[in-house]
């Protein structure tokens, strides 16, 4: 099967002018600019098939947005190639744009002063959506995204949640085959988040739309994505099923001990790792395939006067956090590519 998104050896280097402080520095930068190169994305390759929802995650500044902007045609890559449904997003901008939909969670693509319905009409005109089809989609979106109450409201007077629902309608109104969602749930309350996730999931299932999603909300990932690509410092560090991460790191558990007296240093048994240590609490992670919780608890309680302890199941958040903090851990999950 030909992949929908085909990225090969993609790289982006920004060249910025290095400025020294003060007026003197500014003048110097004007006449004898010193350039500094910053590699935002390095040798990135991946393929995404039709109907996949891929979570594209990484810490701030890892290169997520730069990648999305190259995939959508906004930025020109420095090296490598991109094909989205066979189109080069930069050289065949218009052809590519017809196939894709983009949501940038932090900025609106709609007209600030226009009522939502006017904005949608304009978008439909730009994408040449067939009028009867447009009518159909509009009434469908109005229902699932609950737009009726805001159709006549200008974007500028909408709440954040209303704005995002409006954005989604505008993004899907031309029935894109590929959708890029950059932080679609940022700053939203639980109810709206849930509705948006359901909308994406439902649309993906009914249209077999390919979705690439960047987010810091692991709830988005857990509910939507079967596959995850993790990027760190501009390079891909993991590409594989979400389950593999969970299984591999699922073998870790943590125990938090609380004491009444100030903590002293503790000798931990093998296969244990001290995570956090404060005056009255200690967090230990252990590999349960090698040691049991009771063995760990025993060992600690022999050394400390423990007042209370809790056993914690790992959640995705702590797994990803662990991955971010320990780059070598990526190898443990057998990153593909």
């Amino acid at each position: 099967m030909v992949p929908i998104i085909d990225v090969r050896n993609l790289g982006k280097t920004y060249r910025t002018i290095e400025k020294e402080n003060g007026v003197k520095g500014a003048v110097k930068a004007l006449f004898r600019p010193q350039y500094r190169e910053k590699v935002a994305v390095h040798d990135l390759s991946f393929q995404i098939d039709a109907g996949e929802i891929v979570g594209y995650i990484g810490v701030n500044g890892a290169g997520k947005s730069t990648t999305i902007k190259m995939l959508t045609g906004i930025l020109y890559p420095t090296t490598g190639s991109i094909a989205v449904l066979g189109h080069d997003p930069q050289r065949e901008r218009v052809a590519n744009a017809r196939n894709i939909g983009v949501v940038f969670g932090q900025r609106s693509q709609l007209w600030w002063d226009l009522a939502l319905i006017e904005s949608l009409n304009l978008v439909a005109n730009i994408y040449e959506v067939e009028p009867s089809r447009y009518k159909q989609l509009l009434s469908h979106f109005a229902e699932v995204l609950e737009l009726d109450e805001i159709l006549k409201t200008p974007i500028r007077s909408m709440s954040l949640g209303q704005k995002m629902r409006a954005e989604l309608a505008a993004t899907f109104i031309h029935e894109p085959k590929v959708v890029y969602l950059d932080e679609p749930t940022i700053g939203l309350d639980v109810m709206v988040k849930q509705r948006i996730r359901e909308f994406i999931k439902d649309y993906n299932q009914t249209h077999n739309t390919t979705v690439m999603l960047t987010t810091h909300d692991l709830g988005d990932i857990e509910q939507l994505c079967s596959r995850v690509i993790i990027i760190d410092n501009g390079s891909k560090v993991y590409d594989g099923p979400l389950n593999a991460i969970k299984q591999q790191f699922g073998k870790f558990r943590t125990i938090t001990f609380e004491t009444n007296q100030p903590m002293t240093s503790v000798n931990l048994p093998p296969a244990c790792e001290q995570l956090n240590l404060s005056e009255f609490s200690l967090e230990v992670r252990f590999d349960r395939s090698q040691i049991s919780a009771s063995q760990v608890a025993n060992a600690v309680m022999q050394q400390l006067d423990v007042a209370d302890f809790t056993l914690n199941e790992p959640d995705l958040e702590s797994i990803i956090k662990h991955l971010y903090q320990n780059p070598t851990a990526y190898n443990e999950v057998g990153a593909r590519g």
Partner: protein, 262 residues
Amino acid sequence: MLRYLKLYWYFVIQRFKILMEYRLNFFIGSISTVLFQGASLVALWAVLRQVPSIQGWTFEQILLIYGLLTLSKGINHLFADNLWVVGRDYIRPGQFDRFLVRPINPLFHLLADRICHDAIGDFIVGLSLVSYAMVQLQLPINLASIGFIILMVISGGIIFIALNLITAATSFWIMDSIAVTNVVFHTNEFAQYPLTFYHRSIGVLLTWLVPYGFASYYPASYLLGHEIGWMAWLAPLVALVCIMIAYKVWLLGLRNYGSTGS
């Protein structure tokens, strides 16, 4: 092409709806342009009434030059006003990205996004001046002269747009181009008067480097039957060359577009 025309019309209608929401703004915008032009005219008149003519140019003849320039400026003002603020209002706040992910030409999208109705003021003032001057100077007003003026105003308008497009494209490197646009744009003020008023270098500059002279001095000379008037026929060609160069610069800028952080 037809698609773009239809789409443009649709953008115009939407813009009009927004304007109707801010009705006061609408009127203030139109009136302020008229007042602004009026103030420049009063200043012009105050100087010129002291003398019957300067280097053989009468007040009415200078008004003709001034009027033609104002009409060309009006074209630029109406269709391409967004070029002034592309850096400040679109690139810096990250609004430019949306133009690049839609299936229409990004430049078209930028220009269509805000048709500037304030230009009505330019057209009112420009038309009044040209008509007044033509009548006073007893120049023939017929199909040929009207056709000539329309051709010149369009050419001049394209020259204005082209130069603003070049300076606007610098936003892709320096973020906000208003200062650069200001410097280049305001050289058009030389073209409010006959280019023979200035040192030769200014004349050359306004003809070949920032060719605003083709929007005013040369067409007026042609209408007045001056020898140099033949140059006016170069205006459409100059406009074409300018806009082609400008579009190349724009495309180069797009390649260099860095967007802004997420």
